[in-house]
Symmetry: C2
Subunit: 206 residues, 2 copies
Amino acid sequence: MGKVFFDMAVSLDGYVAGDDRGPNNPLGNGGTNLHLWMYKQKAFFNSLGMEGGELDDGDGDLIRGVFARTGAYIMGKRMFEEGEANWPEDLYKTDVYVLTHEKRDPWVQKGTTRFYFENGGPNIALQKAKQSAGNKDVRIQGGAETIQQFLNAGLVDECIVHYAPTILGSGIRLFDKLDKGIYDIAIDKVMESNLTTHIVYKFKNK
Amino acid sequence: MGKVFFDMAVSLDGYVAGDDRGPNNPLGNGGTNLHLWMYKQKAFFNSLGMEGGELDDGDGDLIRGVFARTGAYIMGKRMFEEGEANWPEDLYKTDVYVLTHEKRDPWVQKGTTRFYFENGGPNIALQKAKQSAGNKDVRIQGGAETIQQFLNAGLVDECIVHYAPTILGSGIRLFDKLDKGIYDIAIDKVMESNLTTHIVYKFKNK
């Protein structure tokens, strides 16, 4: 049975994106500073179907591992709309469930990426995503509000947080408006790197 | 020349204290969950002049190290007022500068702890604390607002953050209302532990 997880980079002050975020500035002001470790990695550019990066080390293994374990994605409507304009075709290579009130036919891309527009809320989306994922895991892709929704619904099993040594000052916080007392949380793994610290946390419903 | 640093534990959602904080509940609701790693350590109880704790390992070395490097403390008025009722005599064992508008004679405790009530603001307090500290470091003890004040004034050289795997949901955030663009920040050291992850960051003014 697959797990439900998310994987996000945060600034020292806990932001996943800076101010003035939008389709032309998807990470907001200063947001690229969160991902400097990733932009060094060949695996990252490879996942976009591009050449680039200078390193292929443990951080690259981590990037490949997250893609490999993910059998389906769930994302919020805003993330989808901001991404739609920017993503290369067939980025996700599996089923992606977009939480939205909009009724829209599935968007079948070249390759194996299929976007399904789900009007039934997080639980129904998760049920379908788990079916798509089979033995693999379901990644709650984002944005922050969607992750908060799944956290507060007690639906998350694990997360990977990349702690970037940068201050954004304002923007969108990852861990915000959370209910306490839902989970027992344990540190599963800490991976050091130059430009970030990766920490894997396990969540168990109390 | 000594450094200026702070050392704080934060929840997954970035809080240093929960709600309903006050002299009778100095860490706020759920706040003790931030420090579970510390309560295991003999070095922690020893620093309070008490018996207690079950372990003496790398986390204990860290606690002893922070005490040993600190030649003077600076703290906000609220932290002092909340602590005054709870701290054992001679806890700090050196000079402590309390930022306050109140005029008050130094409080000379048994042993070597001296509280000075400083009306001149952070820069003056820091000047005096550096003089007290000599070759040792100055610790900005807290609370969060005082640390933010020193961060935004470009006065911090280093911090140790203990990332506790717990959600507080609300309370007082450590990294809040910060100005971006003041520092280049680098990861200096990551220390794994069961109940927290210690990360040391170095701050360099841009």
